[in-house]
């Protein structure tokens, strides 16, 4: 699309994105969320974290080499490092470095 129209499309997408993020804050500004949502609120972060981890694997090609092994192995490594050292930097940098080595070296 031409640049002028692209600007309008970007403005529209920006407006919709702000709306989705602001929605609960505007909707529940002056009233308490219903009891059912009150409960869900506490369980959204744990559930979302699980969903974000799994959905970052969504584009892996499981049927062809290397069969998602680097992703699963390195995610496992991050979890083990984190349970062991409990230092987010060590877990993340360590896991990412091993991932980059595994996927570039052609070992798998």
């Amino acid at each position: 699309m031409p640049l002028e129209k692209a600007f309008i499309a970007i403005a529209a997408m920006a407006a919709v994105t702000v709306f989705t993020r602001a929605f609960p804050f505007i909707f529940f500004r002056n009233r308490k969320p219903p009891e059912a949502l009150d409960f869900v609120r506490d369980y959204i972060p744990p559930a979302v974290m699980m969903i974000l981890v799994l959905s970052s694997f969504k584009d892996i090609k499981w049927a062809s080499s290397p069969f998602g092994i680097p992703e699963l192995a390195c995610a496992g490594l991050v979890a083990i490092l984190h349970l062991w050292k409990r230092n987010a930097m060590i877990s993340i940098v360590g896991g990412t470095a091993v991932y980059m080595i595994l996927t570039r070296s052609g070992i798998l």
């Binding site: 702000v18 993020r21 804050f25 972060p45 744990p46 699980m50 995610a75």
Partner: protein, 225 residues
């Protein structure tokens, strides 16, 4: 404040630079001037949507279609804020920005980290949010200006975001009293991947998980007690 907040945002720095550069490069290669990438990252600031938008712009879709896709892709954010209503109460003038900047990664950081002792909570979360967006804007600008000349290969660096989510998941597993939300979320994610496909997986899993959490709330509370 920014110096105190910075260490918490390093994983996002790595991930956002990597995928921001790739986004800037994509948009530039779609035939748009370089400055459109950082402008979009300042105004829209939603990673998954911006990747999708490159294709939408190139395909010259209608404004209405772009808006509807934005709604579908970002609908999960309508739920995220529920768990931040209390945390962001009394944020005053900083609240609009805190809410605007709630990407998946910033949401994950804000819900799982407590500011170091003695720091103003809202100021800390605002610093984390602003730093994260700076990384994203910088990444997309670099990608659009110099993406094709970069002397190093960023391939694999985006795994830092997966690693960040794994770390935060481990923290949630240690602190949450019930295993049910994790099992429900895992089952819904797998189901969403099979049924809705990779492209719609994120939205489908958030919606189905929230619905099931509401339906089974009594059983979950009993299980956690």
């Amino acid at each position: 404040m920014f110096r105190k907040a910075f260490p918490y945002t390093i994983p996002v720095l790595l991930g956002y630079l990597a995928i921001g550069i790739a986004f800037g490069l994509l948009l530039k290669n779609a035939g748009y001037p370089w400055y459109l990438a950082p402008i979009m990252s300042i105004l829209v600031y939603a990673g998954a949507l911006q990747y999708l938008a490159v294709g939408l712009l190139a395909a010259n879709v209608s404004i209405a279609e772009a808006a509807i896709l934005a709604l579908v892709v970002n609908a999960r954010h309508m739920v995220y804020g529920l768990s931040l209503l209390e945390k962001y109460k009394g944020a005053g003038l900083r609240k609009p920005y805190l809410v605007f900047a709630l990407t998946d990664e910033t949401y994950a950081l804000v819900t799982s980290t407590e500011p170091p002792a003695g720091l103003d909570r809202i100021g800390f979360y605002a610093a984390v949010s602003l730093l994260d967006q700076c990384y994203w804007v910088a990444g997309s600008a670099i990608g659009a200006i110099a993406g094709s000349f970069l002397p190093f290969d960023m391939k694999g660096l985006d795994f830092a975001l997966t690693a960040l989510f794994v770390v935060l998941l481990v923290e949630q597993l240690k602190s949450c009293r019930s295993w049910v939300p994790f099992a429900l979320a895992a089952a819904c994610s797998l189901g969403a991947w099979f049924i809705a496909g990779p492209r719609n997986m994120l939205l489908a899993s958030v919606v189905s998980t929230v619905v099931l959490l509401v339906v089974f709330r009594k059983e979950i509370v009993r299980n956690a007690a």
